[in-house]
Amino acid sequence: MASNVASIGGRAYPITDHTFDVVIVGAGGAGLMAALQLPKDTSVAVISKVYPTRSHTGAAQGGVAAALGNQEEDHWKWHMFDTVKGGDYLVDQDAAEVLAREAIEAVYDLEHWGLPFNRTPDGKIDQRRFGGHTRNFGEGPVRRSCYAADRTGHMILQTMFQTAVKNQIRFFNEFLCTDLLVQENRAAGVVAYSIRDGEVHTFSAKAVIFATGGYGRAWRVTSNAMACTGDGMAIAYRRGVPLEDMEFYQFHPTGIYRVGVLLSEAARGEGAYLLNNTGERFMMRYTPTLNELAPRDIVSRSIVTEIREGRGILQTKRDGDDYVYLDVRHLGEAKIREKLPDITDFARNYLRVEPITEPVPIQPTAHYAMGGIPTDVEGRVVIDEHNTPLIGFYAAGEAACVSVHGANRLGTNSLVDLIVFGRRAGKHIARQLQANELDFAELPADAEDHTRAMISRLRAGTGETQDAIREDMRDVMMDLCGVMRTQAGLSQCKEKVAELQDRYSKVRIMDASTNFNTEMMEVIELGYVLDCAEATVAGALAREESRGGHFREDFPTRDDKRFLQHTLAYRADDGGVSELRYKPVVITEFQPKERKY
């Protein structure tokens, strides 16, 4: 480790340089899973802007899907089919096969590390039903979700962190990654800003993994943590890597009104109703067979339609600030207490509503990025429609787009994605290191320049502070690039985001300190999430069809002729989306059909 001092604009910055075989950015489920695959003699650093156990994986409630067949007959191929259909056929089927097959071993790995799964009477991992998971290619629901009460994600995160402590993995906590170093067409390392003391650190590595999670904070109402600002996606995008399928963003139907905190699908699984202002179970009109249990994208659209047609509870006709009811009263106090404790807690705590006697106000909440950094099934980042890899650069988890979720992710399939592809990325790197296929690249002399310039610019900003820029972004994304979209709305949104980028370029920070400067961190994050928003809007505007989570009122049907392909959004050097390219979907077994439920 070498330390010296550089001076920019008359200000001295201490520098710290590090060298590791592998640097992993992100300590959620995906990052930790990758870290745990690397052999003892590999030096590994995990960089995280929050303490590992604070990562957003801990918020996942429902479960992790794997066709263990502990409760009834199940097969990985059924899981694969459900994933492909759920994703409205935009899923790469080679990847969906890997997901469904390897989910089984990956879940056993977690159990072996100590994950406290709920158990069947004979001591196996218990499994329960979840939306979209079926037996025999859609015949009826199947018990596929492995779970640990209503805190599966928490247990995954804790168990992996514990195992990482056991394996003595080196963590750099409260380090904000700010740059990916690319040298000789390969990843050479990363740069990170230490939140605690404001120092800029450089990490040289043979392989870099981005496992930085999603970007729900681009929308006003979201289930996502404040740390979910799409940093890894934006950093890669700024370095010339395209972002794939960003227009596919999932809105979960049941977020707590105003705050967006998620009420798990488990409620509807247990039989909860959705009611409009006349007390009608409106889902019976939209999906008469599945009713409230239709896939998330369909339920969210139905809620927004009710609100826009004046049947929201407040009758404002504005979907951003109206709501409908989630009603569990008929389930009875005993069942509510036993099966839905989290929902009861959240409703009581954040709304002061008693679900046993009152219906709960809910609205769709921005939840999950199907898109992200394009990778192949080994977790290698690919940078064009020919799947050309950027050597040494990997991505996994919500930050990545393999693509196993296509246009819409099924519940419990994200946690599987983390463990299967986190594991794959780690194992691939281990093999490559073993075979001496990966090596250090000489770091450029100006490795930290980009980060230093960004920090200096922020310190010198003379415009407005971050607040209005961020709130305006969240508003326009919610209103114009949310559950339902139109050409006119998206065009306006695109302009707005460009204008926000412009305002952002002059943003001013109030806090001049280098000591735990969280305002600096927030403002850097705001820049990232704005870039993600920009790519999302561009993809949405160009995609003149409706598929899964992307719904265009002006093009309400799926158009396989033009759009059975993935979007790749590239950034111009001076900002803004320079180009959209398209890449074919990998279809192996299941020919695209109409997605009917």
């Binding site: 929050v50 303490y51 156990t53 604070r54 957003h56 801990g58 918020a59 263990l68 056993y108 159990e111 072996h112 590390w113 100590g114 406290p116 709920n118 158990r119 009477p121 001591g123 196996k124 991992i125 805190r151 928490h154 514990q162 195992t163 402590v165 056991k166 605690r196 006003r220 943590a225 404040m226 009104y257 105003r258 705050v259 905190v261 504005r318 600030d321 705590n349 954040y350 709304l351 002061r352 502070t465 607040d467 961020r470 969240r474 508003d475 209103d479 114009l480 006119a488 709305g489 306006q492 920070i509 109030m510 806090d511 300190s513 280098t514 000591n515 735990f516 400067n517 969280t518 305002e519």
Partner: protein, 251 residues
């Protein structure tokens, strides 16, 4: 087509109340010691306290410093002392705390800045009790079996989010910062009573020394403040009992 509207929280101005927030502030690079500062802010009674802090930070004073992430009580970032009691800022509403609110960093931890404390010592103590499954027997090709009863034996402790509320409210921790504290013992309990684990004796050994379980004076502060409702004191008592019996009951 919809037009941009105000954030919902701002749309409901009819319900706002004026809140006075007293924050204990400390900036190590200022050369000053800790001091109190008062902020006045409009808030909806249903706003979380963390929303109030955000509003102050974003509209009044960007230097106000605290940790936060999930905003709904599951990540453990924003443990702090509110009106004299350790809580998560995202689980407390203005309606709970009243219109005069006092916010301080948790006691028993070194303060980094304002409401941010240094969690490194806390995590080192956690690591000391070997918080990971130890079992060198070959693993089966599927899961290890565990009955629902065996699972129930240690389940309470698995709820821990390592926020530090319990440890920061414990007078024994305030008196002796070397003490492992309640959170570490809860996590030791989680493994000691897991039927799959084989290192209970090691952990009990670690907890039997001067800085181990016996410093717990059964004051119950920890159980009262745990935002996850873990019966912390009871779990500590179970570990003490296992030590006395010279071996845990691992069901």
């Amino acid at each position: 087509m919809a037009t941009a509207t105000k954030p919902v929280s701002q749309a409901r101005t009819s319900r706002t109340v004026t809140v006075q927030v007293r924050v204990k502030r400390f900036q190590p690079d200022s050369g000053k010691g800790a001091y109190w500062q008062e902020f006045t802010v409009e808030a909806d009674p249903l706003d979380r306290f963390v929303d109030v802090l955000n509003r102050i930070k974003w509209t009044q004073d960007g230097t106000l410093t605290y940790r936060r992430s999930c905003l709904h009580g599951v990540c453990g970032s924003d443990a702090m002392r509110l009106n004299g009691r350790n809580r998560l800022a995202c689980k407390q509403l203005v309606a709970d705390l009243g219109t005069k609110i006092t916010a301080e960093p948790m006691l028993g931890f070194p303060v980094v800045r304002d409401l941010v404390v240094d969690m490194d010592p806390f995590f080192s103590k956690y690591e000391k009790i070997k918080p990971f499954l130890i079992n060198d027997e070959p693993v089966p090709s599927s899961e290890r079996l565990q009955s629902p009863e065996q699972h129930a034996r240690f389940e309470e402790g698995t709820k821990c989010i390592l926020c530090g509320c319990c440890t920061g409210s414990c007078p024994s921790v305030w008196a002796n910062r070397e003490w492992v504290g309640p959170a570490s013992i809860v996590n030791a309990h989680r493994f000691i009573f897991d039927s799959r684990d084989r290192a209970a004796q090691d952990r009990l050994q670690i907890l039997s020394d001067r800085t181990g379980v016996w410093r717990c004076r059964t004051i119950f502060n920890c159980s009262e403040v745990c935002p996850r409702g873990i019966p912390v004191t009871q779990l500590i008592e179970e570990v003490k009992r296992a030590l006395v019996q010279d071996g845990p009951d691992v069901g």
